[in-house]
């Protein structure tokens, strides 16, 4: 009986529904001190003086340290790991505490360590810092203009780098087009906003240090932090306990992790720091923030001839781990699920006086998918073609997989027609259009948006992404160790580091089936650098496609050894042993069989009959580096209703068909899709990190940064097709980011469809009530176009957010229960 493919309930849940989850902030160790950080209120300034004397006098204060005080504590600054061949990326020094100048609001200036959290915060308020403000630049386009204030004067420019990729002859392709369209689309700045704030606790223990941290990447953190603090890797243990959501935010090595380690090292005592939500909004990296100018050319029959994109990426003030790489991460799918013969991409990175951008759920692919899909909509309109027909016309046909795109990327497998067909079986478009027409006559504006999407995930492969490939200074294989205990349970160590995905369960299902052990008796361990083999952790929808396959390989090795032991004891040939119904039995002789518990017992306490050439024990490891990425795909439809009187947008229906290969646990897949969709709905309708023209952060709490609540959302209709990937033996593709990548254009397109009869053709996200209302007003005023705003650097009173509560700002806010 196979567990893979069933909706096994999660092994993680019993502790989490009873309050026994153990997150970093829940850990207290004897003698623990608390750190609070003094941060810059200025967007750009020279630090002229820091007076810590009053703070030092405070009760309970153990230390107050500035950047200068800690200059000797760090052998290196925070890391940025992308070195693309032939491209120089301007990368400033990035110390955990700033020396000399601050570059964005929230930049850390000093740290206070005290006996209690309250004492630390009180004393932090008594640290007196004087600043000499300098001009700040927040708009990335203005930052590229001559004469702009410079974030880093030493570089003489705000341009960090330019990176491009091209395939086919774009000029010829656009030249032979009968129709071309050009769109400018802003993908605004967002926050990952996991509900668990970041938290790090460093504890001196034995000869080394233990760092507990709310991180997605304990192994990478040990690698980077060991270097920064000159701690050999065997003396630094990094533990990611239960982690309360990541969404890319915790795919980072942060200043505060280095700081608590340095403080614990200095003081010889454990030091904990916990982020406030305002610190999260100012100093946990942001995502997106791109301006995309897209040109598509097509023949009159709809065949696209070429696709050109010029992308300005606002990277903020520093380079964090992957900051400049994130826009580039979208490039393998900058062409979508279409057969574009020529693609040309240019990405220009820009410094501004804002927090760095880096990976947030989807990381480069939602941005790319957003502009591809909206450009396809516009092209269809221009050609007077049905939007879905244009897509079908340009789909890569299923017979052509594996398909090499114009950019030389090989899509592993796909059947794009099948997902769209199934979507339209589940969603009656004709009925919707008829209803839409009727409702419009009554002044009710509904719209539908479609997205036929493909994404690239399963990061790996090292050869493509690593130093000799795109240029990340890392590798991306994954590891697993499978150990069967003497009584027949299994302990798995994996290099992945989940934070909500349910991999303790799905990995137990996979290993249980291969080993012949009930998955309830398979325990999956991860997130501790002192346990198991090296891993590259969890991000980029890679855990299953890379870590899962490593697990399969290790488990199969254990199974092979179990068969050899079984064969020896049952006096059969190893190739005649088969695993059936949880028993290892001789083919054709079901009465001659052994359970894994019996085999493992013999492996650990070998009987005389066991040949001497079979080693004792039952444990194997495997490392796996895939040959290619995997490319999940699907088709999504979103229906919204816009209240023309107030500008409020409501998602009223959401239907999707996704394909991430064969399901290990369909319940977990649905959960990932639901969450991914809502992450996109958040960006499209509600969420935006806003800085004013002085570089002050306007959205510093959940009061101003509006996450979607249950009250704004419908339930979702999910469905799947299963097209196996040839890349791994499970046939699986990632699913953690798929919903976000797919839904961003679908939701936006639905809003624009609803607004079309009101004369609004273009509008940038987020579609807040004020922005939508203004667009409707402007359109009815006769210019036919909505207001064009990237938001960055707009005066404070134009932002139109600021409603109380965490829901969207809307005129009827507060009328609910």
């Amino acid at each position: 009986m196979s567990s893979v493919g069933t909706r096994m309930k999660r092994k993680e849940d019993p502790r989490m529904v009873t309050g026994l989850g153990r997150y970093t902030e829940d850990i207290a160790v004897p003698g623990m001190l608390h750190a609070a950080i003094v941060r810059s209120p200025e967007a750009h300034a020279a630090i002229t003086s820091i007076d810590v004397s009053v703070a030092m006098e405070r009760h309970g204060v153990v230390a107050v340290l500035t950047g200068e005080d800690m200059a000797e504590d760090f052998a290196a600054g925070l890391a940025m790991v992308w070195v693309p061949p032939g491209v120089e990326i301007k990368t400033p020094d990035h110390w955990p505490l700033k020396r000399g100048e601050v570059k964005h609001v929230g930049d850390p200036v000093a740290v206070v360590v005290a006996t209690t959290r309250g004492q630390a915060y009180d004393a932090a308020e008594d640290v007196i810092v004087e600043y000499d403000p300098k001009p700040a630049v927040v708009d990335p386009e203005k930052a590229l203009e001559d004469g702009s204030p410079l974030v880093w004067e030493s570089f003489g420019t705000n341009q960090t780098h330019q990176w491009g990729v091209s395939g086919g002859d774009i000029e010829a392709a656009l030249g032979e087009a009968d129709t071309t369209i050009t769109l400018r689309l802003v993908n605004h700045r967002t926050s990952g906003a996991p509900i668990e704030p970041r938290c790090s606790l460093a504890e001196p223990r034995r000869e080394g240090m233990v760092l507990y941290s709310a991180t997605q990447v304990p192994h990478i953190a040990r690698f980077v932090l060991g270097g920064m603090l000159s701690i050999p890797e065997d003396k630094l243990r990094v533990v990611a306990p239960d982690v309360g959501g990541g969404f890319g935010t915790k795919l980072q090595v942060y200043a505060e992790e280095a700081l608590v380690l340095a403080l614990a090292k200095r003081l010889g005592r454990p030091v904990k720091w916990t982020e406030t939500r305002s610190e999260h909004m100012t100093t946990s990296h942001h995502g997106r923030d791109q301006i995309n100018v897209i040109t598509l050319g097509a023949k009159s029959d709809g065949t696209v001839t070429g696709c050109k994109a010029e992308i300005i990426a606002d990277l903020g003030a520093y380079q964090q781990l992957l900051t400049p790489f994130i826009p580039t991460l979208g490039f393998p799918v900058m062409g979508g699920c279409y057969k574009f013969p020529a693609i040309d991409i240019t990405i220009t990175g820009v410094f501004t006086n804002k927090m760095c951008t880096d990976a947030i759920r989807g990381a480069g692919r939602p941005e790319a998918t957003y502009w591809i899909e909206l450009a396809m909509d516009r092209l269809a309109d221009e050609l007077a073609m049905d939007r879905l027909e244009l897509r079908r016309k340009n789909f890569i046909p299923k017979e052509e997989f594996p398909f090499e795109t114009a950019l030389g990327i090989v899509y592993d497998s796909g059947d794009y027609e099948a997902t769209l067909d199934k979507l339209l079986e589940n969603f009656d478009l004709d009925a919707f259009r008829a209803e839409q027409e009727e409702l419009r006559a009554k002044g009710v504006y509904r719209g539908v948006g479609f997205s036929t999407w493909v994404e690239v995930c399963g990061l790996a492969p090292s050869r493509a992404v690593g130093p000799q490939g795109v240029g990340l200074q890392a590798a991306f294989y994954e590891s697993a160790n499978v150990r069967v205990t003497p009584t027949g349970s299994a302990i798995i160590h994996s290099g992945i580091s989940p934070h909500g995905q349910g991999l303790d369960t799905s990995f137990a299902q996979i290993a249980g089936d291969i080993l012949g052990i009930d998955p309830e008796n398979v325990t999956v361990l991860h997130g501790d650098t002192d346990q198991g083999a090296w891993g590259w952790n969890t991000y980029g929808s890679r855990s299953l496609a890379v870590g899962g396959e490593a697990l399969v390989r290790a488990a199969r090795r254990v199974q092979e050894k179990a068969k050899r032991i079984c064969a020896a004891l049952l006096e059969a040939a190893p190739e005649d042993i088969e695993l059936s119904d949880g028993k290892y039995q001789v083919k054709g002789s079901p009465d001659k069989s052994m359970t894994m518990a019996e085999i493992s017992g013999a492996a650990h306490i070998p009987p005389q009959e066991l040949p001497a050439d079979i080693e004792p024990g039952l444990e194997e490891s495997a490392f796996y580096d895939p040959e290619n990425f995997v490319f999940p795909f699907g088709a999504h439809a979103c229906v919204v209703e816009v209240d023309a009187e107030t500008g409020k947008v409501e998602v009223i229906r959401y239907t999707c068909v996704d394909d991430c290969g064969p399901a290990i646990n369909p319940m977990l897949i649905d959960g990932q899709i639901h969450g991914g969709i809502v992450h996109a709905i958040g960006q499209v309708l509600y969420e935006q990190v806003v800085y004013d023209e002085e570089g002050q952060l306007v959205t510093g709490t959940f009061v101003d940064y509006a996450l979607p609540t249950a009250a704004e959302l419908p339930s979702f209709e999910t469905d799947r097709t299963e097209t196996p990937s040839p890349v791994n033996s499970l046939g699986v593709k990632g699913v953690g980011e798929a919903g976000t990548i797919a839904a961003t254009p679908a939701v936006a397109s639905a809003v624009l469809d609803a607004l079309a009869p009101l004369g609004v053709k273009e509008l940038d996200m987020p579609f807040t009530p004020m922005r939508v209302w203004e667009a409707i007003q402007a359109a009815s005023g006769g210019n036919g176009e909505g207001p064009r705003a990237s938001e960055q650097g707009r005066p404070l009173d134009e932002h139109g957010t600021g409603a109380s509560g965490s829901g969207p700002a809307s005129p009827d806010e507060g009328s609910g229960t």
């Binding site: 909706r7 849940d13 668990e196 959501g245 909500g500 649905d670 959960g671 969450g675 959940f702 339930s715």
Partner: protein, 166 residues
Amino acid sequence: MSATVRVRATVNGEHRESLVEARTLLVHWLRDELGLTGTHVGCDTTNCGACTVHLNGESVKSCTVLAVQAEGAEVTTIEGLASEGSWHPLQEAFRDQHGLQCGFCTPGMIMAGAALLERNPNPSEEEIRHGLEGNLCRCTGYHNIVAAMKQAAGGDRGASSEEVPA
């Protein structure tokens, strides 16, 4: 150094008593003094609801209640929701329906949901969604949280691990 105040309350059925700084929030008393770390802090501004507990049977956000306001009160946290070794039906339902992923919002969500079901044992989907709008979840998109609420309200068991969806 602010003044200390004595706080005495019945927490999960046990008498608890501490001297706390007057400014101590209920959530910090529960977490830091009593070791009840199932109640979480997610936002500091009463938006996210991760800190939701029951105070005299009503759900409150414990980051917005001073510990001293719990003087003489009955406090129930996620650790005290199960009774006599049995989970609350909503705890079962959250597991059955996959109503949690990272688990960080879950204790607050379950406490808020349990209080909602106390007030309204048979809520409609709309009433569930509005009733939980003070609790943020970033993982689930709320779909399966709503399903869990429906299950707990209806008293039926969700899909078992053997069942494959239709």
